[in-house]
Symmetry: C2
Subunit: 143 residues, 2 copies
Amino acid sequence: MIRLFERIIGMADENQMTCCRMTLAQCHALVEVGRTKDISLNQLSQMLELDNSTLSRTVNNLVVSGLAERYEDPNDRRYIKIKLTEQGMMNFHAIEETMNTYYETLFQMIPEEKRDQVIDSIHILNEVGSKIMCCVKEKKNEE
Amino acid sequence: MIRLFERIIGMADENQMTCCRMTLAQCHALVEVGRTKDISLNQLSQMLELDNSTLSRTVNNLVVSGLAERYEDPNDRRYIKIKLTEQGMMNFHAIEETMNTYYETLFQMIPEEKRDQVIDSIHILNEVGSKIMCCVKEKKNEE
DNA sequence: GAAATAAATTTGCATATTACAACTATTTTA
DNA sequence: TAAAATAGTTGTAATATGCAAATTTATTTC
């Protein structure tokens, strides 16, 4: 039972890794910037739950690769904002499409009479998972 | 829909990371050795789909930390076998328990009348996911 | 208004991961 | 028996990660 769930996760991870010769960390950063459009480095590190220094370097790699740009926030010059270049947007869309294709294929291969059930179950798992994460985060804050 | 699924995966990953101050790669290696009991480095790198050199170093870190031992295969002296130390087994069990606790909590929080449905859905997802992976791996072999 | 404090980012430092290539020792093949 | 194949280790280079320190900018305190 538990092993099955772990396998499902592993398979989805494997598909995500099939991305444009980029590392996973760069993927995560690129996708987050692509979805949020305009984000400060501070926000990005909070979203990805990584240290600022880590994100600073990862973003630097994206910038060097021509996938992202850094610019100064006009309202507060301490802040660096990050946005994707045209090339970066192309990579972002490629990644999103790869994942969309995987999940679409996944759901199309589910027997038709079971689809609603599977979708409902995913909603349930998400809701329950969120509750567990709330408890975990409360414990972290207490420590 | 797709975002929901991604969130579920993210949450399970986050729980797996709550491991004994070890890195994720070390976790993976430790768990695989713990489950397989006695495995060669070659087999381990195939299972984890990583390069031999990578695993050699990761295992070396485990050995240095006192969690694993290397020994020569009596039947073929090219082979190095890996097994966990007592300390390693303790860490292995700790990791397995952390994950078991997470999933148990997860399923207990699912409404009782929905549990069979969710379990069935997970079986379906696994089966379908495996089929997709088969196709992907056939494509890789052709390239 | 000046000084102290806080906040954002970058860089130094150390450790770890990853894969390709080269090397060594052992086993298998011809 | 020599050549080829195999398993594992090490060199190399690039990247990831977090803690600490440094720099710049903004906010707060007096």
